[in-house]
Symmetry: D2
């Protein structure tokens, strides 16, 4: 886990229920893919579902990125140049992982 000196609520805190609802839906879709495999469904139809789940996860991560930039990164930038620069570096690395996944 990341050491971070940020005690204020995280950017996503105000949308927590919405995020939890989206993750429950994604969990159901993942179970659905397992069921398709178990029931010998045609490969292409399974691939279509896997792409749908990837896209849903992508949308969640883009929303998390925007919340994080708009709260944690912006707050740190107002504290000091160094705090801001560190949060920007950290966010850019997370965006890099997201783009490559």
């Amino acid at each position: 886990m990341t050491e971070h000196s940020h005690d204020a609520a995280h950017g996503y805190a105000s949308d927590k229920e919405a995020y939890l609802k989206r993750m429950r839906r994604i969990e159901g879709q993942v179970r659905g893919i397992a069921r398709m495999i178990d029931e010998d469904v045609y490969c292409i139809d399974i691939l279509t579902q896997v792409s749908a789940v990837k896209s849903a996860l992508q949308a969640v991560s883009l929303a998390l990125v925007e919340d994080h930039l708009g709260h944690c990164v912006v707050d740190a930038a107002r504290q000091s140049d160094d705090a801001g620069a560190e949060k920007v570096r950290e966010a850019a690395e997370a965006i890099g992982r997201l783009v490559r996944s």
Copy 2:
């Protein structure tokens, strides 16, 4: 669901248990992300997990693509030019969705 004239077992049939095990693991990771959100974990650590799940799903889909090409597409190609061309078109579309997700 896709109408398909392919009655032989699908490409992934021989690895069914391995696929089901991978999907159960992914399901657990998705539940883990929901728990992180519920416990107000730092955004960057949640993003790291979301990228990990996307990569795991990507690996499953690439394995499914290889199985599909090696069985359904190749079998159809041996039946007739038209059957092969249709399966190639269908596979290329699925790969396109995968690349964009």
Copy 3:
């Protein structure tokens, strides 16, 4: 370069001019991005262009994949199981690189 035992024309041969035209267009877009950087254009507008070029390259690669599957892979599958399996393995690896780039 890949050692390959495939002497027939490649899948893309029949669309060669169309592919060359698309690559010339992409080359022009890449030069356009350099010009934007040189003229101190706003970062977001440059990022928009970079995404457009990535999408254009993606479309070219998906077309190449479909051509390759429909010719080289299918032809090999008709020659022998081993030849077909090798081409499928090779194609799946190329699709993996494409998805991760």
Copy 4:
């Protein structure tokens, strides 16, 4: 082009020469792909090069994102909440386009 009220030098200004050098290299790679197509090189080898160019463009865009966040977004955040929120929204949209391309 984006209307933006940001007159200070852009984030990438200090690395302009490095960016221009990278874009010239990418331009050369794109020309190289056209040459491969023209010389009937094997599809898989062309696909490998296209993936390499996509990855190079991805690295450029991630560097631009980090520069943009560290300058334009952070500067706007220090000006006012609204200015910061607008730059975050704009950056998140650009990151979304990048992830989907």
